[in-house]
Amino acid sequence: MKSTRNHNFQYITFRLARNLMGVDILDIREIVHCIRVTKVHRAPWFVMGLMNLRGQILTILDIGALLGMERPGRNSGSHVIVFKHTNVGFAVDQIGDVFDIETERIEAIPVNFAPRIQQYTDTIINLPDGVMMILNAEKIISCIRTETRPSEEAL
């Protein structure tokens, strides 16, 4: 778990439906502009579609849906954050800075947060101008195994 690491963390921040969020920079392969995302019909609800990244086909996850957030423009975003060692990424609405954060500022997720957010985020960071939720990359990547797939029953 991240709290066991003893160095300062670096997070890439991004906005998703006006929420400020972050993900550990060590979990990230690259950030690219979100170009055309091909919708995959009958795909699970948390799959936004496929994207061509220099000849590789990325599966783009819909983080908003996974976290249970309503956001407009469901099938695109401004950027795609690609996870390390995978061909999986997720679209975000806006990319922010890379933050250096001291261990002390990391806090647990408040208990009143929605179960979906509890499931896919690790911690929350108390910043001067707001709070930032930190995503758990591992859990997001393995969502295919943890999420029920109602659409699969139909297939």
Binding site: R42, P44, L50, M51, N52, G55, T59, L61, E152, L155
Partner: protein, 919 residues
Amino acid sequence: MSSDGHDSLDAMSSEFIAEIKDDLASLEPTLLAMEQKGAGTDDDLINHAFRSIHSIKGGAGFINFKELAGLSHAMENVLMRIREKTLVITSDIVDALLTGFDKMKLMVEQIGKGEASDYEKEKAVLQKILNPEIKPPESRQSSGPAVTEKQVVTPLCTSTIFQGHEFPVDKKRLDHALAGQKFIYAVYVRFEADLKAKNKDEDAIVDDIKSIGDILFSDLEQSRREKDGFFCVLSTILDLPLLSQVLEIGKTQMTLVDRQFTGYETLMKGISSRAAKDKPEAEPKSVASLIAEPDQASVQGTSESLPPSSLTTQTIRINVDLISRLMNQAGELVLARNQLRPFMASNVKENSLASGIMQNLDMVTTDIQQAIMQMRMQPVIDLMGKYKRVVRDIARRISKKVDFILEGGDVEVDRTVLEKLANPVTHLIRNCIDHGIESPEERVRRSKPEMGTIRIKASHQGGQVHITISDDGAGIDPQLILSKAFEKGLVTEDRLDKMTEKEKIDLIFLPGFTTSEEITDISGRGVGMDVVKTNLESLRGHIEIDSVKGEGTRVHLIIPLTLAIVPSLIVSTGEFKFAIPQVNIKEVLYLEKGTVQNQVENIAGSEVLRLRGRIFPVIRLRNLLGIKTYIEEPGTGAKEEEKRKAIADRRQNGEAIEDFKKRMQGKDRRRHHWDTTYVIILKLGENLFGLCVDELYDIEEVVVEPLSEYIRHLKCFAGTTILGNGDVITILDIQGIAAYSSLKFDSIKTEEAKRNQANEKEAQSRGEKRNLIIFTSGKKEYFALELKSVSRLEPLNAKDIHYTGHLKHVEYKGHAVLLFSMDEFLPAVECDPAAEEFFAVFPKQVSARVGIITSRIIDTIETDQLIDRDDACPEPVLGKLFIDDMMVQVLDHEKFTELIEQKVMMAKGAGASRENTHS
């Protein structure tokens, strides 16, 4: 195995190991064939086994693999006894040999892993076979491969230089040279003429020889200073003239020692050299003996026991990984080419060179891609050949008698496909033996031959490979399957009565299904057919089972040739594009505005397409994938969601056209996707169904990328790919689509039977297609003959007709042709005799030269109308047809010909009687 010498596998060793593997591969079928033929095994077969074993022994000795050499030696001993006819082949002996063979295979696989392999057990088994009788000579036993065996070679005497000379050469090196299909020459080097005169010394010539081959023997040391030259036996790949040039020695001073290698022809055949390479051991002491029976060697070489793969000589071994890498790169190249294409196309106007460059690139890319594809192709015998052994072993274990026949072993499939086939095919064959073929007693009781047969047949059909695995065993009892499935709770009670035979048989594809009461080591764990099916589906293949209880089972596999690059048709529905693999496409139909509704019919919520008298189920891609469609308002551009699910919801037939016309006339110019549609007729095995899409694009060679794990469970897609413009699209899985839309096709056979029935019905109701020629006799009587029964038509002038009595003749190409008019055959009006012009119809298949006078030829038509036969028709008339207000009497060709023949006979008779009266 001994650790020394194997720790570092140098290139040479791996070459030998590859060769040993080849020999092993050819040994197994030979051993099996020997068992089959038993005591009657011919020498060719034994010799072939012997040669394989011997090569292995030689190779093992060369790389200092003592255990393998020892084991092969033990096996060789047994084979030698068989060859000497002091041992009769039995299944037990073959068993022992096969155990030895298995051990050898294991040893070879473990080469380089440093594990000591103990072959005492196998050796003991082999010894036991030999022991009950006289022990083999000790000397042979002890002469390990480490001891250098000498062998004497005799040159083919073409000149006196070599007369009477024999050269002892290192046997293993000779074998190796022969295995490498090299020529073996004896060369006489003269110190004066060949060396001094050319400013060379002995070392130089030795170096020269070594640079082109290997010196097997040389008496340089002995002959130095004593004679005027020395002899040398060398192996090289060069032919005689070339060798002479390289060494600068006259051709008369060199000769082959082995006639097997005298010509390129035999070399190229390779097979004969393969036979010959081991021949020295078959008749061990002198190569010279080979000369006596060169033909035999080549006959052995081409004997059927050799796998055809060994026929190729111009091959090199390439690492599979390298080919895979090359394949991936070729994929990238295709992709890059596709991406470049639109860019280049836009440049064509400014730069005329662009199109040429593009064409060139196209061609080269395609060539490279095809060549690499071919590289990856492997004949199915590489896989299927192994089953002979599997069948034998399993059958023996459960005491059944099974014969295994492989047809079409040379059909080639992509390597990856073949690899993935191994598992399902093994399973199917096990099923055949375990469940299919009955015990010999049972078979005899059912008056079947005692020996059961499993037949694998592979063939290419339309870019796909069809593999049929059939047995003549008990077949599948649908009722048994059903009750088993019910017991296991795989079927609900209410479905029991409703299932067709085919559906019942298909239950064996359900996970967890098994009919075996007990779990044996062969089958019965219930992880069978569903795995087979899943495996095949992962190959984008298709499986079908036909079975007749008591007669046998036929499993039909249809698999693609290759998985990597697939020519596909790009289609779209709404704004989404999809690729459909071309091999799945039977035809593409374009249904025009207004005709869609006529040809696609909605029957009780399901749409069908009527095409050429057949009915195809039709699936709309739009509905299948849940693509929302919008109707654009031309004025405002606003989009309105389409809510109807099928055309026929509102607009059936005439109404639809009316509606359409109204819209065309009026202001309503909304683009509507049901105005036109493309229907792609897809084939799934032998079954066809239609898929409606909105637009068609090009056919592109798409590089298939597997689905990511998030969407892998989607049955409708087979993979994803990137188009030339960089778009990612999905590739449709035809089988998945059919399954998802619950299209349940009957098995091929029943489907075919149905189709034939339908065809028959159609033929009955519509009559067959006929080409008729219609002519008149008299004013309004129309007759028709089938065009195929008419040889020619000729216009006639009235004055051309010559009368003899009441017989009419006309001259045609110097011959008199007898003419009849229709009224002579059946009640009809005579042709108007006053008319000036006639036409003659010359029927075929008549013995004499005969023509029919007609007043006029009306037309030739093609019709499939049913010919109406009534009893009022005169004899030669088949029936009546109404064509354009004419009543046409169609003549029955056969009966009409009969009538003509009768007439001809009568005419002859009349002529004869007339002659009689004259005289």
